[in-house]
Symmetry: C2
Amino acid sequence: MHTTMVLKAIADETRMKLLTLLLRHSYCVRGLANALELTEATISQHLKVLREAGLLVGEKRGYFMHYDVDRSVLHELAGEIEALITIERTPCKPAKRDDCPVTKSKSCIKQGQCSNQVQEFCHGSNQDKEGAS
Amino acid sequence: MHTTMVLKAIADETRMKLLTLLLRHSYCVRGLANALELTEATISQHLKVLREAGLLVGEKRGYFMHYDVDRSVLHELAGEIEALITIERTPCKPAKRDDCPVTKSKSCIKQGQCSNQVQEFCHGSNQDKEGAS
DNA sequence: AATCTAATTAGGGAATTGCCTAATTAGATT
DNA sequence: AATCTAATTAGGCAATTCCCTAATTAGATT
């Protein structure tokens, strides 16, 4: 999944720092290495991760590579996270209300107490013999 | 950093699936394990990661643990990502325009061509003898 | 109080990650 | 065309991740 790639890319302190540096300004690799006190090879590898996630576009200037952030990818990501929030809770609506494990205050379910419908809906596949709960 | 923790938590396919399941409905651990075809131990560990990132709140119902998503954490995260986008590019403004590596189309800098100011600003610490570039 | 069970933790193995140094590559400059 | 150098890739190592099975724990039920 592409979203996961973008998330993995920014879910690292070093890469997040690189990103914020590059949002402000173009840096060559050595500049970034100096700023973060890491080797150029390490920076280069981090940039690769960001690049492959689509977050960076590279441009060559003379001897130097300069990377820029593609802000639209960040915007899209923020949108996808915000979209998660809009997912609505689907209440458990079994045929018999008593079957719903969620409406019971004391217990969830026990083997056999839960209709197939509820079991499937609330507790995933009904495949295993033990009875999902 | 807390943001990184939240990002790491959701930067995993399995945990993202858990999150979307839990956004729709309360599940007990076995229900989640059934749904994702993983062991309960594995699910429990993933839930721990999500919980420690503040994304989940657990509630005990009878024998069963039910987790709910704290949507505000997701909202905050989306906001922080969106905030990155608003970071403005700071153009390189050295005393002498010629010193600015970024405005030059052909070359970035060479040893000695770059004023200390520019070097510091554009390319990080000026410490190393080689000259940052 | 004793029993029972969902959830968690412990321990372990294969795969991945993040850093390094050294070698190589791409391509700009002369 | 030959040279030069920033950036990348290769190789290696320690730490972490993600999954498993087995043991333990928390706490609800009887």
